[in-house]
Every structure is written in C-alpha cells, then in structure tokens.
Subunit: 382 residues, 2 copies
C-alpha cells in the first residue's frame, strides 16, 4: 500500500481579522478537495491539527467542531502536540491509511491567534512548555533566547551569523503571495531590531499568525507518473523542560525523528532538494539544519551566510515558503502548510519560488522547545 | 497481526484534591506497565486522551507533558475529542499498531477537574458543544435535558422509568472500591433529587471527577489462551449542534460506530456479555442501549426496570464499573477506564462485581452530545 498526497490547500497567513477559525478551515479544505477531485462524502476520516482553540475560544471538541463547520459528517478527531500539532495530524493520517482503517483522509491544520490580546496568546503558547518554565514566567522568545545564547557561547558564533536564516526566509517570503511578511530584510535590520529576550531580537522571531492548511492523503495500490508519494514518517520525543535536557544547542527529538525516517526510507538528506523546517526562531532553523545533518554542528551560520538553503543557490532549498519566520506561524496550521509547500514544489506549480525539477522533499515540525519532532519525506513518482 | 491488551491500570475516581494530573497519570501507567510486565523503555508510543488540561491548566503540549511527567522519552501525542478523548486515544493506538508504526503503545486517559470552581469546569465542558449552544448559555445538563424531554415525549415514558439506569449504575458502584460514588440509590431518590435542568434532576447526572486510566496495547503475530484481544474498532461522527440534528432521541454517531464494528468483526451485540457504555446522563444510557440494539426504541426504561444490564441478572451486564454515573466521569479518562473495566471482566479479576465466564465485552464512548462515538470489542482467547 502506498500513500499519495492528492490535494493541497492553504489560506493566506497573517492577521486575518475578517475570518474566523471555521472560515479558514473551509477555505483550505475546499481547495484541497478540489485539487484532489473529490468531495467531502468521499473522505472517510478528518484529522485536525490545532493547539489553541481550547484555550482561546473554549472549543474542546475540535475534530467535530471543524467537521461540522465544513459540513463533514464522518469520523473526526483532533491531534494536539503544541506547534507540532499539524505534523502529528499528518502522521496519524498515515497510521490510519497504513492500517487500512481509512482510505481517504482530509487533514486540516488551523490556528486563529490574532483575535485576542497578544499577552493572552503568549500565555497560551507557554502551554507548550513545562510547568516550572511557566511558573518562573518564561516566554517562548525567552526559552529560545536561552538556546540562542547557549549556541553562540558553545560554538563562538558572532551575532551577525545568527541572522542569516531569517534574512533568507524573509527573502523567500517576498516570493510567496500568501506569506504573512513579504518584505526583504538585511542582517543589519536583524542586528538593529528591538531586543525581545536578550540575545533574541524581534527579527529572530516568527510572528503570531492566523491561517489554515489542508491536504488530502489517499491509499493507493499502484502509483502513476508525477504523483506525490508520502514515503516516510518519523517522530521523536524528548523531555519537556530545559532543566532536564542534556543540551540546549541541539534537539534530540529531531535527531530521533530523522533516524526513523532514514531507516524507513533509506533516503539520505543529501538527496533531498527542498526542505520546510521548523524555524520558529532563527536559532531553531540553525539547530534543525545541524540536527538533520545538512551542516556540521556550529557551522550553519557560516553556511547560511554563504547561501545554504537559498532559492538562488544550487543546493537544497530550505523554507521556500518563507518558513515560519516570514510565511507566518499559525501554530496548528504550520505542520500541514509545510506539507502543502513541499508537495507543490514536487508538482512544480509555485511560480516565482519554484525550484527546478524537484523529486524529493522533506518537512520538519517541532512542538514547544523540542519535546516533539515530526519529519515526513515526499517523492514525485517517475 | 493481532492486538492484545497486556496491561491495565486505573486510579480511584473522585475529588482527589491530593493528586495532580501527572500523579494520576503516573499511578495508572505504573499499574498498567506492571501488569503487562514491561517497562517504559519497551513502549514505542504514548497516546494521551485528555479534554481540559489546556483550558484548566494551560497545558497545550499534553502528550509531551504526560510523557515527561511519567519519565517516558519516546514519541507522544494527545488526542482530543471531548468526552470521547479516551476512546479515540485507544483507536489511534489501534491504527498505529495495525499500521506497523508501533509495536507496544501505552494509552493514558486523564482529567483533573475538581481543582477549579465548578462553574469554570462547566464552562470548559461546554467546549464540547456548538458555538450557538454556548452562546445561548446552554449547559450539558441542559442539552441532555432536552434529549431527556424529547425522549419522554416521543415514547410517552413516565418519569419513574427514566431513573432505572442510574439506580442500576449506583448499585454497581457499591461493588467498585474505586468508584466516585459507592452508595446505592432508589428510583424515589432520583425522582426527589434536585431539579438541575428541567426535566433533568441531579441524580440523572454523572459527576465531575478526577482520575486516570491506562492500558498497554501490543501487536502480536500469534495469540495464547486467556489473552484479551482487541478485535474491533468503530467510530462514528455527526453534526455538532442540536439545531442541525435529525433527531434528539437517538445518536447517529453510535449507530455508525456500531455498524462499523459489527461489519469488521461479525460479532453481534447479543453475543456480548459485558458492556461499558457512555452514561453521562440517565437518558444517554437509555439511548445507547437502543442505538446499539440491546432494546427496541423507547423500551429501555421498562427493560432496565425489569433488570436489563444488572449484574444480578442473567443477561448482558451494562456498566459493571458503575458507569460514568457512579464510577465517575473524569472526561479524558472515561474511554480508557471503560476498556480497563471490560478487560478485567474478561480476565475474571473483579471480585464482587465479576461477571461469570465472560468472553466478549464492548466499550462505547461518546463526545459531547453525540458528534463523536467510538466503540471497541474485546474477546478472551480460548
């Protein structure tokens, strides 16, 4: 049994004050179903990835809520794993398809974050951290700021080198008409931006966004030319709180997920041509690049400065969508949006940001500060 | 590939003010692992069923939170489907095992409800209902009260007959040392109890409880004598809000889930000897009995009065644990606790409430007012 991605949909990401959660879900789902050439009655399972509807909108039957909102009457469920909710929703769809319990699954990732005061969202996001981290009043920029500092200290990396991942992703964002930010920035902009949680500056941080993404996954016995196959799925876990982590400069969960997916597929990262990885902060992209094996530990800053991951380079393209940093980060949607981007790269439909002749792509989605990581690999059939 | 339940664990249910969510999870998990004869390092996936930790304790990375809390470092995820979160967590474990993605899954269902004011919990529980129902200020006793009234009107059922399911379940609760309520009640007690949401009285309602339950599910190529096999899993969905339902006296989602599990297993309900079904309110048990086919529509009240489902009768035993009504209803734990109860009946270890020579058991878990229903069937091997 093989799994194909037959449809993809994604809304604009940003401060979408004119759209509620269900309208976002509807737009993304309709696009994905249309692309797959099926209707809701063909779907036998809805999996929703979402983190904050319970806290921000008191909605705690989220699968059924989205199902009713888009007019679907079949079985539905919600998967929650903080910012990895979308990626884990994809993984549950994979399990259901491989088990034979479902044949056609609609996965919807969504988040509606900008209708409440930012303080409330920031507090809700701290739900992804450990109790002790919340109790001392930490914030996510604060936690990743500790990683940022630990990384600089361990490898002796200059401030300037911590800025190139976000410069690249903002450049990619200028090529994505659905991105939250479509404005190029320089490394000096990063260095001069507001300090948020020393040494983390505003432009190192991904934004708070609204948005939804959807994919249709289908089980197939045989494949045809130019389909997009989901060939591998890996998940890793780690302890939640920093106080019990072995290191702050690397995510063990990413390494575990990568190991699983490499063992499953035999595909090595140097064969992959496009990667959407979890850059909630600049340092997160740098650690992901190193943890997955795209750069030696401590060297991603130099390599990014030299063009690693840029759509203008010859090598692997990292976060062609603009990543979480520029495309935006509606948390539950992010993991699904990453799949949409990679699948569209494999289909060759992305216009200005299309990478040439892509055959293999990878998505990498992280929950919290790294207690959860999910990786998927996709291949265009020949 | 077959699936066995190799371990079960469950805490006391009740107002457990001396235990937090993680201690509850720990106690249930440790018992389940000990019974399975394995340790956490043998587990390759943790699935958590939970509804309210996000809203009540601002914890929104629940899989990783419980994993860290019990000392597990592998992949973890949380499934949310309101009061069906536990049953759906079991179903995701089934999908993962059948897919081959996991070999040994620990499922933990938990809820910690009594540390906050009841009004806040009641508000959180309304997260399982539709937007319009919340906006008009409905409560769950109010919504099920509408079903209660519609049921009485449609079938011309006397008030007294609406009380026998809860009388039976309270009697069963007296035999369960872990039950929230271990006190027998009479039908007159029900009829004279405080009106909560006309015609729903206090003793028709299940309580707000703390508690956790855990099971270990394992994939096996071959089975031995006296193992408990999970033979079938069914899930049904329905529209969330009453305003769009075709009927208020029956749950379409239960019928769909039952149809799926009967088609999958070929097992008919009249072969099943013990059933744990979702009796969040008296009328919910009556509808479930009828929707699953244990009684004709409108007749369950008469049959319950005559002893249907009683542990003292000769037929199927319904809610030997005391059900949600007497054993308690920590929402995310309930669906997992139902499995613990049925598996223990199949193992013959339940002492005073043990049913003789049980070979087939069924669990039925509902989310909200019926937008989600999950059914599982278990068999003791011979």
């Amino acid at each position: 049994m093989k799994i194909i991605v037959s449809g993809t949909g994604v809304t604009r990401f940003g401060e979408l004050w004119d759209m509620g959660a269900l309208e976002l879900a509807n737009r993304a789902s309709e696009e994905a179903l249309r692309e797959a050439g099926i209707s809701l009655s063909d779907v036998d399972l809805l999996v929703v990835g979402n983190m904050l509807l319970s806290r921000l909108e008191n909605q705690a039957h989220v699968g059924a809520y989205v199902a009713s909102g888009i007019g679907y009457l079949g079985p539905a469920m919600a998967v929650e794993a903080a910012c990895a909710s979308g990626g884990l929703a994809i993984r549950q769809a994979v399990a259901q398809l491989r088990s034979g319990m479902a044949k056609r699954v609609l996965v919807v990732g969504l988040e509606k974050m900008t209708d409440v005061p930012t303080e409330e969202v920031a507090m809700g996001l701290m739900g992804a951290a450990s109790d002790d981290e919340r109790w001392v009043g930490a914030t996510f920029p604060g936690l990743y700021g500790m990683m940022h500092r630990a990384y600089q200290q361990k490898y002796g990396v200059a401030d300037e080198l911590m800025g190139w991942s976000v410069v690249k992703n903002h450049y990619h964002g200028t090529l994505n008409p659905l991105a939250h930010f479509q404005k190029a920035i320089t490394v000096n902009d990063v260095l001069n931006s507001q300090m948020v949680a020393d040494p983390m500056r505003l432009l190192h941080c991904s934004p708070i966004s609204d948005g939804a993404a959807a994919v249709v996954l289908e089980a197939r016995k045989t494949l045809h030319k130019d389909q997009v196959e989901l060939v591998g799925s890996g998940q890793g876990g780690d302890v939640m709180g920093f106080s019990e982590r072995k290191t702050l400069t690397s995510l063990t969960a990413t390494k575990k997920a990568m190991k699983e997916v490499v063992e499953e597929t035999g595909i090595l990262l140097d064969q992959v041509e496009v990667v959407e990885l979890h850059d909630c902060f600049g340092v997160a992209e740098m650690m992901a690049i190193e943890d997955m094996g795209l750069a030696p530990q401590g060297k991603s800053g130099d390599l990014l400065k030299d063009g690693l991951g840029s759509i203008d380079g010859d090598g692997v393209v990292i976060n062609s969508s603009g990543g979480l940093k520029a495309a935006g980060h509606p948390v539950g949607a992010t993991g699904v949006k990453q799949v949409v981007e990679v699948v569209r790269q494999l289909r060759g439909v992305l216009g200005k940001r299309q990478v040439k002749d892509v055959r293999l792509g990878l998505t990498h989605n992280v929950g919290g500060t790294g207690a959860t990581a999910v990786i998927h690999i996709f291949r265009r059939t020949t």
